[in-house]
């Protein structure tokens, strides 16, 4: 039964001192994004707004959990949980600094040299320096270990050649942390992979945005042609890239961003249903169906956060949260469309329908980004002892 331990998550309560941050964040956000329409807010961590990120940097809300000596605020991971939960539920445009705050700065702190920490982390915390993550390649998606982009050691450091794709916000970022091959061939799989920090302004780097099906431009293809990196580009140990990347995944997969991608739409729909005469029996039932799934998921996500804080590596638990969470996120636009267009009255507010349009179009990505549904199910099956 030990393989089932991942399934018995304990009720966990966010400590009061972290919870206290919520009021301040909420009132700041009410003011800061008052004029932003819902269909724009619905983009949330896909929304890109450098000025907004700088404002958050001034508030000390980027790198909240990072040590003060590197520009962070030294708060707990639960404080960041509260912060992020409020960002997502309000639909704050946090995309510019999202990756740097969630993944890159913690990675640099964990594996970086003192120089790397002193250079990068304070800039990230100020909302000045943005990062993207170079993982997928044209022939390396779910099978990440097959990456072919190479960094060859030379007298100046590393010579980078290859191509990344689906890199979110690469066209807006100063840096990429890329998973590359530093020795061996793709036959060697997990061996010989390393992570390097690439300054995207270097000669030989070409970034091309790819338009998504809704007309947004967030992901990119990035080409490296004889890009000369310094010795200090290597982050962590040469050959340890795979271990470093997989350690990040539990942080990436269990957070509130895996539950709340459709929440701006859901809340806007609720406001419509609350208008006199609009609460039909089926809309009331739908509201309850979503609530009774979201609440346990949120409790699971908070519980996984606690396991992370205790130094655990709840990879299977995080996969469970992401799989269930994204499935619910995807059902919300479908069910809301069903409700709105089952009514005799077709005078539904256009702004609500614009939000519905955006979330409907964006929803396939919810179960692609950060590990596909099929990959996650495989990981869960491994956790259950089946593989």
């Amino acid at each position: 039964m030990s393989s089932l331990n991942s399934l018995t998550l304990a009720l966990t309560r966010i400590p009061d001192e972290d919870e206290a941050l919520r009021t301040e964040v909420r009132s700041f956000l009410q003011d800061a994004i008052r004029d932003m329409p819902a269909h724009v807010r619905a983009r949330s961590w896909g929304g890109y707004d450098t000025a907004f990120s700088r404002k958050l940097g001034e508030k000390g809300w980027i790198g909240l959990t990072l040590p003060r000596e590197y520009g962070g605020a030294g708060r707990s991971a639960f404080a960041r949980y509260v912060l992020v939960e409020e960002f997502l539920n309000t639909g704050a445009p946090v995309g510019s600094h999202w990756i740097a705050d969630r993944q890159s700065a913690p990675l640099i702190l964990k594996y970086g040299t003192e120089e790397q920490k002193r250079f990068h982390v304070p800039r990230i915390c100020r909302g000045e320096s943005f990062f993207c993550i170079g993982m997928s390649e044209p022939n390396s998606g779910s099978d990440l270990a097959s990456v072919r982009t190479r960094a060859e050691p030379n007298e100046h450091g590393w010579l980078l050649n290859g191509q990344k794709i689906w890199t979110t916000n690469a066209h807006h970022c100063q840096y990429m942390i890329a998973l590359v091959r530093t020795s061996g061939t793709s036959e060697d799989r997990h061996k010989g992979l390393s992570q390097v920090i690439v300054d995207l302004s270097l000669p030989g780097v070409t970034v091309r945005p790819i338009e998504d099906l809704s007309g947004d431009r967030h992901f990119c293809e990035v080409f490296f042609e004889d890009v000369q990196l310094g010795h200090d580009a290597l982050i962590g140990n040469e050959g340890q890239g795979w271990e470093q990347v997989t350690a990040e995944l539990a942080f990436e997969r269990s957070g509130p961003e895996r539950l709340f991608s459709s929440i701006v739409l859901f809340d806007q729909w609720l406001d419509y249903v609350r208008l006199p005469g609009n609460a039909t029996p089926s809309s009331t039932r739908l509201a309850g169906k979503v609530l009774t799934q979201l609440a346990p998921l949120r409790a699971m996500s908070v519980s996984v956060q606690e396991r992370l804080m205790q130094g655990g590596s709840p990879i299977v638990e995080a996969a469970l949260v992401k799989e269930l969470g994204t499935t619910l996120e995807q059902s919300i636009p479908a069910d809301i469309a069903q409700d709105l267009f089952s009514r005799q009255d077709d005078d539904v507010p256009v702004e609500l329908l614009m939000t519905l349009k955006y979330v409907t179009e964006a929803s396939p990505s919810f179960s692609l980004r950060g590990g596909t549904r099929e990959i996650l199910r495989g990981m869960i099956a491994r956790g259950l002892g089946l593989r």
Binding site: L11, L291, G378
Partner: protein
């Protein structure tokens, strides 16, 4: 607190593993009252029926959050007796009115001629009394022996009617307005469903590892692995929801949390039962194989004290009655005192 609840859950696990075997479950469901009586005595002897009763009245004074583990074990062993319902009823009744023996919970209708009719009493045939909610604040404690009983769809259930004289003589209980019988019942049923869901997953995992086809365990096939992954997601979420429903230091659950618990567990019951049977194939469909004890029970529990749609309506009304973002309502459900 955690230690107390672990101790009680362990005590329940031991009694149930020894005494509530699949054979005993089958015997009780087939109407063997000796088996039912002897198992009930074991549960009483372990002190479980008075777990929620104050210490001053001879109980263990636990809160719902501390008996979750016991109820989960009941479900994990498909206990066909009313331990959870009796625990809840004992806590609700003053000591002078607390009868011995198992207690069922049911909604009743007071007719014009003074009779009380309970259209459906779950597990009436293994209970001695019923705590009946006749309207918002009128609760009656009625002995089953005095009722006219007729069979129901499931073997242990019954429709019960008490003559006017019995109703007049019955002990009346004044409960706080707003306490709803289904909320009490759904709280314990959801916790038991969480246990049964865990057992169904464990059985299915075991089977997928043992059963070989095409020269390897069927659990090596990706189609089977993905079904088990989906099952485990529902088992995990349902257990979390059931913990939310059965939480706190008191003996009266929160209605919105129970709505979450019962709706989520009932949703999981369907998915998990369906996939468990799909993985097991024909053997899982036999009387002889134990899987059916848990999957049939999950369906019965889904149909007890409100299906998911009933509780979706309750939760939906609560959400629509609020203003602002749904996060605050979500937090009201998830942020329990621990």
């Amino acid at each position: 607190m955690t230690n107390d609840s672990d101790l009680f859950a362990d005590a329940a696990r031991q009694v149930l593993a020894d005494q509530c075997t699949p054979q005993v479950v089958r015997a009780i469901e087939a109407g063997d009252s000796c088996s039912a009586q002897s198992l009930w005595e074991q549960l009483e002897a372990a002190g479980l029926t008075d777990a929620l009763v104050p210490e001053s009245e001879g109980g263990s004074q636990l809160g719902l959050g501390q008996v979750f583990g016991v109820l989960e074990q009941c479900g994990a062993h498909a206990l066909p007796l009313l331990l959870g319902e009796t625990m809840i009823a004992h806590a609700a009744l003053p000591p002078s009115m607390r009868p011995s023996g198992a207690m069922a919970l049911a909604r009743g209708q007071r007719e014009a001629d003074g009779t009380v009719r309970c259209a459906l009493v779950r597990s009436a045939k293994v209970a001695e009394h019923v705590l009946v909610q006749a309207d918002d604040t009128m609760w009656l404690l009625l002995p089953i022996a005095a009722a006219q009983s007729s069979d129901h769809a499931l073997a242990l259930d019954a429709t019960l009617v008490w003559p006017a004289a019995q109703v007049t003589a019955a002990a009346q209980l004044s409960m706080e307005s707003g306490v709803d019988l289904w909320t009490l019942q759904a709280c314990v049923v959801a916790a038991q469903m969480a246990g049964a869901l865990g057992t169904v997953l464990a059985c299915t995992l075991q089977y997928a590892n043992d059963r070989k086809q095409f020269g390897r365990p069927i659990g090596k096939f990706q189609a089977i692995q993905h079904q088990l992954a989906v099952m485990s997601e529902h088992v995990c979420a349902a257990r979390m929801a059931a913990q939310l429903g059965c939480s706190g230091a008191g003996a009266v659950p929160d209605r919105l949390r129970v709505a979450t618990a019962k709706a989520r567990c009932s949703q999981a019951a369907l998915v998990v039962s369906e996939m468990a049977h799909a993985v097991h194939g024909a053997i899982g469909f036999t009387e002889e194989f134990d899987l059916q004890l848990y999957t049939r029970r999950l369906h019965a529990w889904r149909q007890t004290a409100g299906s998911e749609a009933y509780w979706h309506d309750v939760a939906g009304q609560a959400l629509i009655a609020q203003e602002g973002g749904s996060l605050d309502v979500i937090r009201r459900i998830t942020d329990v005192a621990i």
